[in-house]
């Protein structure tokens, strides 16, 4: 199934919880923020969201800036 993550298409074998997707991609869940289908998902909701076909994720972190 296809999902869009940070503007890029990703293909997954099956639906899985958002938290498992982060582990799959080796993303440390500290200090990141996630929008799922354009709504911010609080940290404690990451295990409850099951990714579905055509879902849109934005996974953001802080970088240097002025």
């Amino acid at each position: 199934m296809k999902i869009v993550v940070n503007g890029q298409e990703n293909f997954l074998e099956c639906s899985l919880p958002l938290l498992d997707f982060l582990q799959l991609k080796n993303i440390n869940p500290q200090n990141i923020v996630i929008e799922h289908n354009y709504a911010i998902v609080k940290r404690d909701g990451w295990s409850e969201i099951i990714l579905q076909e055509n879902d849109n994720l934005e996974i953001l972190a802080f970088v240097g800036g002025g």
């Binding site: 940070n6 990141i32 609080k42 996974i59 972190a61 802080f62 970088v63 240097g64 800036g65 002025g66």
Partner: protein
Amino acid sequence: MDKLTIGNVQLESRLFVGTGKYGDDALIPKIIEKSGSQAITVALRRINFSNPNDNVLNHIPQGVQLLPNTSGARNAEEAVRIARLARAAGCGNWIKIEVISDNKYLLPDNFETIKATEILSEEGFVVLPYISPDLMVAKKLVEVGAAAVMPLGAPIGSNRGLKTKELIRILIEEIPLPVIVDAGIGKPSDACEAMEMGAAACLLNTAIATAGNPILMAEAFGQAVAAGRKAYLAGLGVSKIEAQASSPLTGFLYGEKE
């Protein structure tokens, strides 16, 4: 002790430092230490999947006030979205509003900035808007709940100094909020000049990050900001066109015979 209060936070240092443009983010802790800065700006970006755990927060010591910016926003709506994300990331409720759609000079869109400030202030953010120095815009920002105003001295990253000095002076005189000079400061003497004039603080990034020795420059800026603040508090002497002797003119030479 002379402290700067923004929101309910008191800062001893009046230097805000940005974290962009460092070739190596590992320099950042030393920059923060040497500058003495207690308020640090960061930006929010999509994670890079080739290096997913790269996060500037790994280099920022605990206890400093984070000031995420909304860079990348081209209108109020985008700025509000970024601000909400930054807060959800768990880094507090301060936000630097930066709304820019001019790619040549990176000048802020004051009107969209006012809109974003109003929305975010109502949502409980401590809003520090980056603006082109304009008195009417600054007054409007006071009305809609800004915690400070941050006029530019010159375009971002230009290192050109206080090109807007007179307009900033008017804001300092007329606006009952901290006026933080943000952008354009190129030299410690620029920062010192802004502080002597009564600016509440200075925010800079490029002048330190692109210096030959950024750590030494961070220290120089810390000292310049502190010196300028002390000079402002001390009250500058009056400037005059003609000389006024500093040494007593005892006059005994004039009384002698030729």
